[in-house]
């Protein structure tokens, strides 16, 4: 089983005809994702790499029957693209774009209130349900089907963790990159809630980093709502305060958001914390129900 995306997902790609959009869409198609349409304003009516292109999301949804969108447009127009997808009524919007202004994302969050769409990202690798559907830029080949849900704020560090799992024969139900920005659509807690309800997910790996308080909220949620085992990791144990570590969200400020504080609370809330990034796979192997070790 899996959450949010599977073989029934019908994907529309916003920004299909751009360089990044084309490259990653073809990777998704090769993985098995059903891409039903692309949207590029002004190129409606054309066909790109065998995929029909429309001028807008509403038309693409209506005519191609999509239920999810992936966004590969430049940051200055990405917030508008998210709102267009939400307005068209797709269930899931996955925004890969990095560098969207924060005040734009605040408007997006307000626009989405009360609407049915879920946003993943922005500034994220996307989401994959191994063997079923991949929406995003992650390498499909490192994944395998299985019982572990993965939630992460970063990209390549998620690949690292997934590879550690797969090489131990531990597959994944769904892996979600929630994004490294201060304002995102799906939080750790949102993703935990979805994995809680998924019978195919037996354990969860949660990869956080310094900055903000999202990992703390996730730890508290695990303590009060989850009986499935959860492995935690926090990147940035050596990061100095006041410096933004790449991700706009990854900054320790006002004594808040330190790795020590997050790790302490995670352990207090019953998560199994991997101190070293090399131990994420091993720690998961230990806690997985029915595992031999």
């Amino acid at each position: 089983m899996s959450i949010l995306v599977d073989q029934d997902t019908r994907l529309i790609v916003q920004g299909l005809t751009g360089r990044e959009g084309t490259f990653h869409t073809l990777q998704c198609v090769r993985y098995g994702t059903r891409v039903v349409a692309g949207v590029t304003p002004g190129k409606g009516g054309t066909v790109h790499e065998g995929i029909p292109v429309f001028n807008g999301m509403a038309q693409a949804c209506r005519e191609a029957g999509g239920n999810a969108s992936a966004i590969f447009v430049p940051p200055a127009v990405a917030a508008d693209a998210i709102m267009e997808a939400v307005d068209a009524g797709v269930d899931l919007v996955v925004c890969i774009t990095e560098g969207i202004p924060t005040l734009d994302m605040i408007k997006v969050r307000r626009f989405m209130a009360g609407k049915k769409s879920r946003l993943i990202g922005p500034n994220c690798p996307g989401i994959i349900s191994p063997g079923k559907c991949k929406i995003g830029i992650m390498p499909g080949a490192i994944h395998r089907e299985g019982p572990v849900g993965v939630i992460s704020r970063s990209g390549t560090l998620t690949y690292e963790a997934v590879q550690q799992l797969s090489s131990r024969g531990i597959g994944q139900s769904t892996c979600i990159g929630i994004g490294g920005d201060p304002i995102i659509g799906t939080s750790f807690v949102d993703a935990l809630r979805l994995f809680k309800e998924d019978p195919g997910t037996e354990a969860i790996v949660l990869i956080g980093e310094i900055g903000g308080t999202a990992e703390e909220a996730a730890a508290r949620y695990v303590r009060s709502h989850l009986s499935k085992p959860v492995v935690g990791f926090i990147a940035g144990q050596t990061a100095p305060p006041g410096r933004r570590m790449g991700h706009a969200g990854a900054i320790i400020s006002g004594g808040q958001g330190t790795a020590e504080e997050k790790i302490r609370l995670m352990e207090e809330c019953g998560l199994q914390v991997a101190r070293s990034p090399a131990d994420i796979g091993e720690t998961t192997a230990r806690i997985l129900p029915g595992s031999s070790s």
Partner: protein, 389 residues
């Protein structure tokens, strides 16, 4: 992006926030002239980005133009050390000379982003003039907060709530409301990520001023604010970080001896962590971005090795969709072109891993190939400590 106090005050003033009369000076003569124009008591304030300037001796009173000249002379050119500058301090190139005002009370007023709520939040406190982080940690009840409805902006009733919450006399509340609305407009119009007035001053004769001001901007929004982008002062930044930025590299200098080159911010942080766990100390954070081309790798080498403390370098690239053989060729090309002298440990992951390793091993360079993060960290820490001895 950060700016200086005098720049922040100019932005606030343009938006209708009252600030003390004053001007910026880059020489003692200019400081004297400004003090003479202002007349009476003046304050001379060092203009550096870091906070805590007063405690470090960067903010001083002067009773006459002559004294202002003397004070400016002693502050200009000094290496001002505060709790935010690090032990080496920051060189002072400019001072702000302002009229001295008689203090009745000091408040705190700030606007920031509440990540969890996904909203802008306006904060006010009766505990002004002190570190607000301390107030937040020790007496959080003393910080009043109003979340701003996106699209609507800060409303007058919210500003009124804050003003009455500060125990301001009723006759001053309309001024305070105007002050807060103006500060909010400045925040919104410039895509700020933080705007702080600390202290917000109530003078003896019942007027409100932004006595100090700090504005940080959202880097992602600078493209639509060219006038803000112009305010960047590269003297306040590390030269190697500026150089890295030109090449699209995300680099932060630290004080260890193991240089790191990693793709992706999360993996870069995790790599620093595992170096520490292996008993070493990272010299930097460096994210080469998604594509590790030969040119990017060469640029990254240049920046990492400009730090003389670096005794060994760890390259940790999780190729993902990128092929390892291409990354390996990039590393070899760059290493040959630069005639590297420090030992390099390379850990590659992704498709065509075997070919990548073969290219590294056949290069004839003193590259150590590692498998996995643990192995890579142990090897690079050992090499760094050996070349120290």
């Amino acid at each position: 992006m950060k700016i200086h106090e005098f720049q922040a005050k100019a932005i606030l003033s343009d938006h209708g926030v009252p600030v003390p009369r004053g001007k910026v000076a880059d020489s003692k003569e200019k400081a004297r002239e400004i003090a003479s124009d202002l007349g009476g008591l003046v304050v001379v304030k060092a203009q550096i980005h870091a906070g805590g300037r007063g405690k470090g001796g960067g903010v001083r009173l002067a009773r006459s133009p002559e004294e202002a000249q003397e004070v400016a002379d002693s502050i200009l050119g000094m290496q001002l050390v505060t709790h935010q500058t690090g032990p080496e301090g920051q060189s002072v190139k400019r001072v702000l000379v302002e009229e001295g005002l008689k203090i009745q009370r000091e408040f705190y007023l700030g606007i920031a982003i509440d990540r969890d709520a996904g909203k802008v939040v306006v904060m006010a406190s009766r505990e002004g003039g002190v570190e607000i982080e301390k107030v937040a940690a020790e007496t959080p009840d003393l910080i009043l907060k109003e979340p701003v409805e996106p699209g609507l902006g800060l409303t007058p009733f919210q500003a009124r709530k804050l003003a009455f919450g500060l125990d301001l006399p009723a006759r001053l509340v309309p001024d305070a409301v105007r002050f807060m609305l103006a500060l909010y407009r400045a925040f919104q119009d410039t895509d700020a990520s933080l705007a702080e007035v600390n202290p917000l001053l109530l003078t003896e004769d019942g007027r409100l001023y932004a006595l100090d001001a700090k504005i940080n901007f959202d880097d992602n929004a600078l493209y639509r604010h060219p006038h803000v982008r112009h305010l960047r002062d590269t003297d306040e930044e590390d030269p190697s970080e500026i150089e890295a930025g030109k090449h699209g590299l995300n680099y932060i200098k630290l004080d260890g001896n193991v240089g790191c080159m990693v793709n992706g911010a999360g993996l870069a942080m995790a790599t620093m962590d595992i170096i520490k766990l292996a008993g070493g100390s990272p010299a930097n954070f460096l994210d080469v971005g998604g594509g590790a081309t030969a040119e990017q790798v060469r640029n990254a080498f240049g920046i990492i090795l400009s730090d003389a403390n670096v005794k060994a370098v760890l390259i940790n690239i999780f190729g993902g969709i990128m092929r390892c053989d291409i990354v390996a060729r990039g590393v070899v090309e760059a290493a040959k072109a630069m005639q590297l002298e420090v030992p390099i440990v390379v850990r590659l992951e992704g498709t065509n891993l075997e070919q990548g390793r073969e290219i590294l091993e056949a290069s004839g360079l003193s590259l150590t190939v590692a498998s996995g993060m643990q192995d890579a960290a142990e090897k690079v820490v050992r090499l760094a400590s050996r070349s120290m001895a």
